[in-house]
């Protein structure tokens, strides 16, 4: 069902860097499992939760994001009622230090003022989970809350959710403290960077806080609100099966590979909620007579004539005869020639590896080939 009372905001600002992969693109439009961009998952959550009025708060590298979004109809149910607005902070280009999510909202304040929506739901691009936002929002409304933060329990803060704040909450579910993840080996409550905020409350907070601090971001502002003490911040524990925070290159590799385990895969994909992405109308993947493929994700448009194991191949990747690809993540339109042997590598878009080349990274530290590399 469609919910008129809500604006969904996809916040590209909170995403951490994955190193070189995200040098020329935001994490939100970075390739995931060969077929998706990261932002597809949060956008699908909005769509599956009936939230159709969407703002995309893009921090930088708009070209990459806009290319992935296409005509933007892939993530909306009704193409008239649904709308996706691009929110760009043009001033931020000249002044990167003050290019914050708050500045973006202020720059695009029509998104807030043009709307009669009472509630804003923020999601981030780097946390992958199938979250039905509907019940969480309903709880927020029923309880008459002003701000709700969604968190998940993690077993070891030294190993995951590096970019998230860790929460402490009282027995009534209200937030009592926030701290950066200082990677202590302990159980913790990690923010999933999903925030539900009443529109008027946000307008008010921005007016009070951001005006005198142009570098303030949403996370800092929420902390300010917490410590000012006049608004109680409610929390909601999300108890779903699969959630991962993609916060660094090694985790990117680790979490992608982990999905090759069918149990993990099914915890993300084997459920009613669908994942939408831009269709490319590429033909199905084709495997040659001498191909030998196992333990891999293969996207449409791939042409495989060699051996592939433990790898993720994106659209239009070509693997030549006699080549062996082991434990690699290969982005779209990469061409691997004949009789190559490549292990433990992430190969970015449009790269070409000519016949007979051999190279490998460390299983614990994958090699990265930049976009357009020719070897």
């Amino acid at each position: 069902m469609k919910n008129n009372d809500v604006i969904g905001l996809l916040n590209f600002y909170t995403a951490p860097s994955l190193g070189e992969i995200t040098e020329n693109r935001p994490l939100g439009s970075t390739s995931f499992l060969g077929r998706y961009a990261f932002c597809d998952f949060a956008l699908s959550n909005f769509c599956n939760s009936g939230i159709s009025d969407i703002g995309l708060m893009i921090k930088d590298h708009q070209r990459s994001v806009l290319k992935h979004l296409g005509s933007m109809s892939a993530w909306v149910t009704n193409t008239k009622v649904g709308r996706m607005n691009i929110m760009v902070n043009e001033k931020g280009v000249l002044n990167p230090l003050s290019n914050t999510d708050v500045a973006n909202i202020r720059e695009n304040d029509w998104q807030l003022y043009d709307s009669k929506a009472k509630y804003l739901v923020f999601q981030s691009t780097h946390i992958i989970a199938n979250v039905d936002l509907g019940p969480i929002l309903q709880e927020h409304i029923d309880r008459g809350e002003k701000i709700t933060i969604v968190y998940t329990k993690i077993k070891d803060a030294s190993k995951e959710f590096f970019s998230s704040n860790l929460l402490r909450v009282d027995e009534d579910g209200y937030l009592t403290s926030l701290k950066k993840n200082d990677r202590q080996q302990e159980e913790a409550l990690a923010s999933m960077e999903i925030w539900i905020i009443n529109r008027e409350v946000l307008v008010d907070i921005i007016r009070k806080n951001a005006v005198w601090n142009e570098r303030a971001d949403m996370k800092a502002m929420i902390a300010d609100v917490l410590y000012a003490g006049n608004i109680k911040i409610h929390t909601h524990e999300w108890k779903g099966k699969y959630v991962r925070c993609f916060d660094c290159f090694d985790h990117y590799v680790e979490y992608c590979n982990e999905l090759l385990d069918p149990k993990v895969y099914c915890s993300l994909f084997d459920q009613p909620s669908r994942h939408y992405t831009l269709t490319q109308d590429t033909p199905p993947a084709i495997y040659g007579e001498d191909a030998d493929v196992r333990n891999s994700f293969i996207a449409n448009g791939a042409i495989i004539e060699g051996k592939v194991d433990g790898s993720i191949l994106s659209r239009k990747v070509k693997i030549g005869e006699g080549s062996v690809i082991k434990n690699c993540i290969i982005f779209s339109s990469v061409k691997i020639g004949k009789n190559c042997h490549i292990e433990n590598a992430v190969i970015d878009k449009y790269s070409i590896v000519t016949d007979g080349k051999t190279f490998s990274g460390d299983p614990m530290k994958y090699l990265f080939l930049k976009q357009g590399t020719v070897i």
Partner: protein, 379 residues
């Protein structure tokens, strides 16, 4: 601005020889190539030709097909100045009738064509597999000031008696038409693809409708009559991949044509040619090949999960091949489940069908086994 060329796609056929596959869906909606339905080909061809007005004439088991065509968005035929209409038999002041033949189907929709007001009309079959644009064929019509251009395909002489055969003079003018002749004198088979000058077509169809002895069929009635009336009719030679798949064996063979071979024979990319074939977005997950899987010589769509062994197969989305299962020389359509240790050889398995654990299906290369036990809701 009037329309140069409008397309009418005949998609009402039952496809009886495809047996259980077309029990609940019309032949144009039958799956093909792991990702497509057959009608994706003519519709994509229209889109790639820059044709903006497309009428799709449906009749037999049309629910799935009509829903699939929708407003033409899957083929981009929903932009400004575009019109995609599903044209089903309708009630009128004169009463109501089913489409009695290919020509009658167009006749009953002359009002739609009048509304579009095209200079030329392209008549297509919704159940042919080929990728092309119709621009050259239109040029042939314009250059020759033809009333009708018929696309022809060279078939082996010994098979010519199965087709409608055209005889042309040295300039390509059609001088004779033989419908399934016992002793063919040419090997140019009509592909059932016509471009008519609309004014000529309109008059011919009105005349045909009045003829009580007519079967209201283009090949049997309208074309021979126009030829007799000395209309300017020209053949257009089509070169490239083209299949009219009428039987389970030929549908299976056409699927296998898409596989990658070492020689220069056909594969998905040669069949697709320079243009893309558009299809529905199934919102599937990624295609997953399991640890114990063995995959070679296959065409596999997104959303498939292969845990067993597949060799020389065409596999559609949401197909699951469980561990220990072996499929060879087989087509697995959307949502098929192959149970553990099942063996499926030389088969065509219809949408959402289930092969139980350990079950064996043994077709032969000359007699492809058809399994179609899927839940109709999942077609």
């Amino acid at each position: 601005m009037s329309t140069k060329l409008a397309a009418m796609i005949l998609a009402g056929g039952k496809g009886t020889r495809l047996k259980a596959l077309t029990r609940k869906i019309a032949k144009p909606a039958v799956s093909y190539g792991g990702k497509y339905r057959i009608i994706d080909f003519p519709l994509s061809n229209c889109a790639n030709s820059g044709i903006n007005d497309v009428g799709v004439l449906t009749q037999y088991e049309s629910s799935v097909l009509n829903g699939y065509i929708g407003n033409g968005e899957k083929w981009g035929l929903n932009g400004v100045r575009s019109l995609t209409s599903v044209l089903t038999p309708k009630q009128t002041e004169e009463g109501s009738a089913w489409y009695l033949g290919t020509a009658d189907a167009i006749y009953q929709n002359l009002d739609w064509l009048d509304m579009v007001d095209p200079e030329y009309v392209l008549i297509l079959s919704g159940d042919h597999i080929y990728s092309c644009t119709y621009n050259d064929m239109l040029k042939t019509a314009e250059k020759n000031k033809a009333d009708c251009v018929i696309a022809v395909y060279e078939v082996p002489m010994e098979e010519a008696s199965r087709f409608g055969i055209l005889v042309t003079d040295e300039k390509g003018n059609i001088v004779k038409f033989q419908e399934k002749p016992k002793n063919p004198i040419s090997n140019l088979a009509s592909m059932g693809i016509y471009i008519f000058k609309y004014s000529t077509l309109r008059a011919a169809l009105k005349e045909d409708a009045k003829d009580e002895n007519s079967e209201h069929d283009f090949g049997k009635n309208v074309i021979p009559k126009m030829l007799k009336a000395k209309k300017k009719m020209v053949a257009y030679k089509y070169q490239g991949y083209w299949r009219d798949v009428g039987t389970v064996d030929s549908l299976h063979a056409a699927n296998m044509d898409l596989l990658l071979k070492k020689n220069d024979a056909t594969n998905i990319y040669t069949v697709q040619g320079a243009n893309k074939i558009y299809s529905a977005d199934t919102h599937s997950g990624p295609q997953y090949i399991g640890k114990k899987a063995k995959v070679k010589d296959c065409l596999i769509n997104q959303g498939a999960m292969i845990l067993g062994e597949v060799d020389h197969c065409v596999i559609s989305s949401e197909v699951v091949v469980e561990e220990g299962a072996v499929c060879k020389n087989t087509v697995l359509m959307h949502g098929v489940h192959i149970g553990k240790n099942a063996k499926v050889f030389n088969a065509l398995v219809g949408p959402a069908s289930r092969i139980e654990d350990g079950q064996e299906v043994n077709g032969t290369e000359d007699d492809i086994a058809l399994i179609a036990n899927g839940d109709m809701e999942d077609l």
